[in-house]
Amino acid sequence: MPPNRLRPRTRAVLLVLPALVPVVAVVGAALASAALLSLGLAPLVGEPQLSLDAYRGAAGDLGTGIGLSLGIAAAATLVATVVGLCLALAATAAVRRSRLLGALAALTIPIPHLVGAAAIGLLLADAGFLSRLLGVDPSSWPPLVGGPLWVAVVAEYAWKESAFVALVVAGVLSSRAASYGETAALLGAGRWARLRHVTLPLAAPALGATAAVSFVYTLGSYEVAALLGRAHPEPLPVLAYRLFTSIDLAARPQAAAVALTTAGLALVVVLLSLRALRRLAAER
């Protein structure tokens, strides 16, 4: 064997390493460091001592934060999935296909979430564009931005993620649905029957996967809730950020505890989604 040729497996491992090493180093170091900090084993001052004080100290806010974060993520994902599916159906319809909707969805993708938040703020705030359009006085305009129902936050995530759902699902449908739809039509299936028995089952795996990705993203994203939300109660990322940047050094371990809890929550969601998607795949 000539010296400059490596065995294929060795070569493949060497090719993966440059990407794998930074991911393992960063993710591993970050999680380990956060775990040590939250368990009192790497205090910024004083002796290391194993304790759950950080978790205990943050417990109240943590409980509220988990509920709030899950609620926001669920609401935003639900709207994004429904609207995204409608967009995908319109963009891939066999008759009167809307190229415009597909293009608009694609152009929404590269808009940073933070910019989306700024835009939604200008749209939904009292005296914002929408209240001017509808001619509603600021005093009687509902508190969409910073209000108790987190409407602006949910709207921003739903807006951005619906475009993502639409693009992925439209990609799946455009490559497969047309021919199946024609076959079904030849077999005598009507408009609704085709949607129910052909299009939706074809779209389901992509829809489920994109819903899971959107949910996990929304759960862990900071800037939209920080900009469009209210000061109290706080979703998990906002809570962690406030604790971490607090002048009180004792709050740092609590911030790490919140971060780890969020990561754990995200991981559980991912595993549950993978299981559900696998079951979906096994059914057919």
Binding site: P22, L114, V270
Partner: protein
């Protein structure tokens, strides 16, 4: 296929609603960007002008634009080749435990970026790693899942026969990569680079947590302007500045992809 008039009307109304859903949030952005005076309850600005742009420039938009461009470019330049090389290895099915390796490479997608940044921040400070380098490494890790996935799919669809043919015809390993493999996966490379650029360009939380005030990017300016009151024009112009480069890149990448498919 013919449809009854009611279905047609409903379908048209639905499409209009969907288009409105996608476009409406951007309308106040476009109007505010060039509004010098726009008081309630006017639906359109009363005075048009460049006050927002002037305020944005005064706040350092020029420098922030350059910093963001640089950050996005560096992340793309690092994440694209690493993702391409790893994607190729994973597509070849020669990597031992390939599924597990892929899962690890995709794990940054599942982990909240603030949690990773927050955990690493303490460590970076202790190791005295420069803040900018820390930001780049974290964003590289955040971008790798996208480049790995894109390139793995591209290489899975890529026919190794082309490379065998080139080798037998006398091309060296490197010539084969340069004159056969890279041109064939060029559209995917452009797509992967675009996604990686977007990760660097759009990031807010990692830059804030790890950058330690040394990096002022466009998203930071947008956030600080948006959380202040009375600077709606500045917010709008900064936001538009953040949207236009990636949208222009998307159009370029899209046309590249179409050319590649033809």
């Amino acid at each position: 296929m013919t449809a009854p008039r009611a279905v047609l009307a409903a379908s048209r109304a639905g499409r209009t609603l969907l288009a409105g859903w996608l476009v409406l949030p951007l309308v106040p952005l476009l109007l505010w960007a060039f509004a010098d005076r726009w008081t309630f309850p006017a639906v359109l600005p009363q005075e048009w002008g460049t006050r927002g742009a002037e305020e944005a420039l005064a706040a350092g938009a020029g420098g922030a634009f350059l910093t963001s461009t640089l950050l996005g470019t560096v992340v793309a330049l690092l994440a694209t080749p690493l993702g391409a090389v790893a994607g190729r290895a994973l597509a070849s099915r020669q990597v031992p435990g390939g599924t597990a390796v892929l899962a690890v490479l995709l794990s940054p997608l599942a982990l909240p970026p603030f949690a990773v940044a927050l955990g690493l921040d303490v460590l970076l400070l202790r190791l005295r790693i420069p803040a900018a380098a820390g930001v780049v490494v974290l964003l590289l890790v955040a971008a790798l899942p996208y480049t790995v996935l894109t390139m793995r799919a591209a290489y899975a669809a890529h026919d190794r026969g082309f490379e065998d043919e080139a080798r037998v015809l006398g091309a060296t390993r490197w010539q084969t990569v340069r004159s056969v493999q890279l041109p064939l996966v060029a559209p995917a490379l452009a797509g992967a680079a675009f996604l990686a650029f977007l990760v660097g360009w759009s990031d807010y939380i990692v830059t804030v947590l790890v950058g330690g005030g040394q990096l002022t990017t466009l998203p930071l300016l947008v956030a600080s302007a948006a959380s202040a009151t009375g600077s709606d024009a500045q917010v709008a112009i900064l936001s538009l500045t953040s949207i236009l480069p990636p949208v222009a890149l998307l159009l370029v990448v899209g046309s590249l992809g179409r050319r590649g498919r033809r």
